[in-house]
Amino acid sequence: MPTPTTDLIQGTLDLLILKSLSLQPMHGFGITQRIQAVSQSVFRVNPGSLLVGLQRLERAGLVKGVWRATENNRRARFYQLTAKGRKRLEHECSEWERRSGAIARLLESES
């Protein structure tokens, strides 16, 4: 890989999962791929953390997991956003923008 991968910024995994799922329901690896692709391989998701994160979100009622058959006739778990999850995503997004905007302003004033 050309660019070095970085671990996710602390506390953003949930946000990234929710965002990925907002387009369409997908399974675990799909989420990994999507985060990697969209971030142009800057961020790398640890599969263990991802599965734990999905489980956490499912327990919180933000996503819903459904078993579906894959092309190879295997069971795979597809996750989709719930209404509550969608609301949470909006909230988290605006929150993130507010914070990152603040950080950006701070960095600019520094230079």
Partner: protein, 930 residues
């Protein structure tokens, strides 16, 4: 926010459908892997490369699954459950340790819970009344004499800006019923607002009301639940049935009272918390009874006016201090305006300090063992709890010591687990669970044991006659007791379990694995040995010393020379003043006739006793040397000598009394046929009176004057000196007594009760029944107030002391058991740890004797240092207790030596037994085994 409900449901599904959950997780991870492989293949990798890349991507499958599995709350439950199973397995694998630890903890916790439930039942539990914090008690500040007249009580009751209500109560022992069914019971005569002020309602029937105060009202009684069950067979229709009450104090022939209520068993009266009150009667009715008896009224005007103790409920937001200020300004003793036209003349006979009134926020419990009220119950409770805590602490430190020692043995295992990836927390949790498993099961055993201990303790108290009274006290298993059991169990479990954890991290894996049991360097081992065994020895010595002293005090009290002989002797008591006094029939002027009749009865009884073949000697007295009044004196009276007045005890006796009770005449003579109504009035004094009044001179022929109020003293001639008597609770001080002749009694006070004391040839019990038949023979109608052997009279008085000492001694015995067990385990364990060293020494040619010497030497060193420290601690502890709680007899050399000898034997035995094994065994076996 996580929705907790969904998390719980999912968690439970995973816990209980374990295989389905595992399959789901497997499938999810597998499908992840597959999706990754597909993705890489699509990106153009060969199947092999794609498989490898996806593997790399995912990392260790097991680690991922583990990570997921560990994330939910159920994983904690799951792991804990595994830990419990593992701990149970481990405990099963070393049954010796498990059984010993279980026993030590169960005994420690059981003793603790038992002592706490007794202390709780007797000393701590708040009064079972409504809002007990609003109640105050008004009493004399320094003495236990009751404080107020009826009129004063009523005046306080009317002060509604301070008090919501003021009630009076006074305890009295009465005889219930007649004939063979008669029994003595403790009751209270109370004001009719008593239950209202306390906020209590009877479980059946009604409380008293003002109609019961109306002159001519039917006499009514409220009985205790216990009495209701025992005497009325829990009859639901008990209301309206009648109960005959004859008061010992008030001297009447008994009155019929109608039962109007049954009080719940939770409430057992206010006066003596150590005995339960069985009935309550309105004070006004008792008063009326006495007015009808007439006689009593004339003789004791001061007590007549006294209402008893006062209990008051404060108005909301009125602090006790304001009530005190109010009492100060209104009570005549402070110069305030009198609430009463007539100042109580009792006040005149008291010291100024004794006249002060005190408003106390809590019931002041006067412990029966301590009639002068010097022991604060809270302090006694604290002392007993501290003792129980010490016993438990011994057990716990023992176990902690042993587990630390075991921890050293287990260290390779623990270190290995840490090295294999277990976190320290996880290992600690596992050890804590092991400790908790042990301690909670031991606590359950301990709670069961404590019930048994309480029952056994109450049943086996030395004074049997008091046990009945005590058995009426409920020792309940309340929330507080359970709380104590739970908290001790958790604390001990954690201490015992976690003791070895501290040592894990410092462990060096190679060293641990390489030299199985020789992991602790010599220095650490020695430190361990000393820091664990030494305090054990010290605490053991201290506890044993305490127990030894308690037992010795018990023996000292039991064996103190009372100055008389209670064996083969008994007494019977009747109401002296009932003679010829029919209720309502007594007229002024019949007094002389009554006295004559009484004299005749006395003479008749004495004649019958003299002719009885079963009796050796018999005599009458109006005061027994067994029970002191509240002031600590048997029957206080003031006598005059030329030097001024002296306060002593006094008793009126007849010829034969000294022989009957076993008091010896030392000088002069006792009362005999020469002393009649016409002959000069005489007195006999006890040794201490003679020594105090006429030191160095003969008491015979001296004069002593009896004071009655302000009148000129009646002068009596001293004709004899007898030995001193002591109260059953005293270890030393004799009671100074002046005896006067009863048949000259019209010169002196008339007392309300009379005792016939006799000594027989057979047991005291037989003597008692002989005496009863004599009294009934002389007057078939006579009601006997009390008929007991002298021994049981003394036991009745001593019960509380026995109780306290028995508590101390049993804690001591528990302590000894625990300490002995623990000491043995520790010392033998620490010797066992040296096995390797000893074996090498043996292999190098050391003889058995030398090896034994080595071990025994160490044992003796530990025992010696520990004993010295223990003695010091014990001295300091007892000094504190003596000053803060109650006087403990000084430590004597014999007790100290016995204690040290016991401890030394235990320590040396514990050292020698494993050492013998070491010396005997084949060195090679030990070295290889280790």
């Amino acid at each position: 926010m996580p929705s907790p409900w969904r998390a719980v449901v999912i968690g439970f599904r995973r816990l209980f459908r374990r295989s389905a959950a595992a399959r789901d997780l497997d499938d999810e991870v597998e499908s992840y892997l597959e999706a990754a492989r597909d993705a890489y293949r699509k990106a153009g990798l060969t199947p092999e490369d794609a498989a490898r890349a996806s593997r790399v991507e995912l990392g260790s499958l097991t680690a991922v699954k583990d990570q997921v599995r560990m994330s939910g709350w159920e994983s904690v439950v799951d792991a804990t459950w595994r830990d419990v199973q593992y701990a149970a397995r481990r405990l099963r694998r070393s049954p010796g340790f498990t059984v010993a630890a279980f026993l030590v903890l169960a005994l420690g916790i059981g003793a603790n819970v038992a002592i706490f439930s007794i202390v709780n039942a007797l000393l701590i539990r708040p009064l079972p009344v409504e809002a007990p914090e609003e109640l105050v008690f008004i009493d004399r500040a320094t003495s236990t004499f009751t404080c107020c007249t009826v009129r004063e009580a009523n005046a306080y009751d009317a002060a509604t800006d301070i008090f919501r209500g003021v009630a009076t109560f006074r305890s009295q022992t009465s005889t219930l019923g007649v004939g063979p069914d008669a029994m003595e019971a403790l009751g209270e005569s109370v004001s009719t607002n008593y239950f209202g002020v306390l906020g209590l309602r009877p479980r059946l029937g009604r409380a008293f009301s003002t109609i019961d105060d109306v002159p001519g009202a039917t006499p009514v009684v409220i009985i205790s639940e216990r009495l209701w069950r025992s005497r009325f067979d829990a009859d639901p229709n008990v209301l309206g049935r009648r109960l005959r009450l004859a008061s010992r104090d008030m001297v009447d022939s008994g009155w019929l009272y109608t039962v109007v209520g049954v009080m719940d068993k939770a409430f057992s009266g206010l006066d003596d918390p150590w005995r339960s009150t069985e009935f309550w009667v309105p004070r006004s009715q008792r008063q009326r009874e006495r007015d009808q008896l007439n006689d009593a009224d004339r003789l004791l005007p001061d007590r007549e006016a006294s209402a008893g103790h006062l209990v008051a409920r404060l108005q909301r937001h009125v602090p006790a201090a304001r009530a005190q200020a109010f009492v100060n300004t209104t009570h005549p003793a402070f110069g305030g305006p009198s609430l009463n036209n007539r100042r109580p003349s009792l006040d005149n006979s008291l010291n100024p300090a004794d006249r002060l009134l005190a408003v106390r926020t809590s019931r002041r419990i006067t412990l029966p063992m301590d009639s002068r009220g010097r022991i604060a119950p809270e302090r006694l409770a604290a002392a007993l709890m501290a003792l129980a805590g010490l016993v438990l602490a011994l057990g716990v430190t023992n176990l902690a010591g042993v587990t630390i020692a075991r921890g050293i043995v287990r260290q390779p295992e623990l270190t290995l687990r840490v090295t294999l990836g277990a976190t320290r927390g996880r290992v600690a949790r596992q050890l804590a669970i092991e400790g908790l498993l042990l301690s909670t099961s031991a606590a359950m055993g301990g709670v069961l044991l404590s019930r048994w201990l309480v029952t056994a303790f109450l049943r086996n108290l030395p004074a049997r006659s008091f046990t009945a009274a005590f058995a009426s006290i409920d020792v309940p298993m309340d929330v507080r007791v359970c709380g104590v059991a739970v908290v001790t169990a958790i604390a001990t479990g954690l201490i015992v379990g976690l003791a070895p954890v501290r040592r894990i991290s410092s462990g060096n894996l190679l060293a641990s694995l390489g030299h199985a049991s020789d992991v602790s360097p010599r220095r650490v081992r020695a430190r361990l040995r000393y820091w664990i065994v030494l305090p054990q020895v010290a605490a053991c010595v201290g506890l044993l010393l305490g127990a030894g002293i308690a037992v010795r005090a018990l023996i000292a009290v039991a064996t103190v020379d009372l100055g008389y002989k209670q064996e083969q002797a008994a007494m019977v008591q009747w109401a002296g003043r009932r003679f010829g006094v029919a209720p309502g029939a007594s007229a002024q002027g019949s007094h002389e006739a009554d006295t004559a009749r009484q004299r005749q009865f006395n003479r008749r009884v004495l004649e019958l006793a003299a002719s009885s073949p079963e009796l050796v000697a018999a005599g009458l007295t109006d005061a027994l040397p067994t029970e002191a009044g509240r002031a600590g004196v048997i029957n206080p009276a003031r006598f005059a000598v030329s030097a001024g007045p002296i306060d002593v005890a006094t008793a009126q006796i007849t010829q034969g009394y000294f022989d009957a009770i076993g008091v010896r005449v030392l000088l002069g003579r006792g009362i005999d046929a020469r002393d009649t109504l016409q002959s000069p009035a005489i007195a006999i004094v006890s040794e201490s009176v003679a020594a105090r009044l006429w030191p160095g001179r003969s008491a015979i022929g001296q004069s002593i004057g009896f004071h009655r109020g302000s009148r000129e003293p009646d002068w009596l001639e001293v004709i004899g000196v007898v030995n001193d008597v002591r109260l059953p609770l005293s270890e030393g001080e004799p009671q100074p007594v002046v005896y006067v002749a009863m048949n000259q009694e019209n010169a002196l006070l008339r007392r309300s009760t009379m005792f016939l004391v006799a000594r027989g040839k057979a047991s005291g019990r037989d003597v008692a029944s002989t005496l009863r038949s004599i009294v009934w023979h002389a007057d078939p109608e006579m009601e006997i107030a009390k008929s007991q052997t002298l021994q049981s009279v003394i036991d009745d008085v001593r019960y509380a002391r026995h109780f306290a000492v028995a508590l101390l001694a049993s804690s001591g015995v528990c302590g000894l058991l625990l300490a002995g067990l623990g000491l043995y385990a520790l010392v033998s364990h620490s010797v066992a740890q040296r096995m390797r060293e000893l074996a090498i020494r043996a292999a190098l040619g050391a003889g058995r004797i030398e090896i034994m010497n080595l071990v025994v030497h160490e044992g003796i060193t530990v025992a010696a240092i520990g004993s010295v420290v223990g003695l010091l601690l014990a001295f300091i502890g007892m000094h504190i207790v003596s000053h803060q709680v109650f006087a403990i007899p000084a430590v004597d050399l014999t007790t100290a030596l016995i204690v040290i000898a016991i401890v030394a034997v235990v320590v040396v035995l514990a050292a020698v037994i494993p050492a013998r094994r070491a010396a005997r065994a084949d060195p090679m076996t030990i070295l290889r085994w280790q």
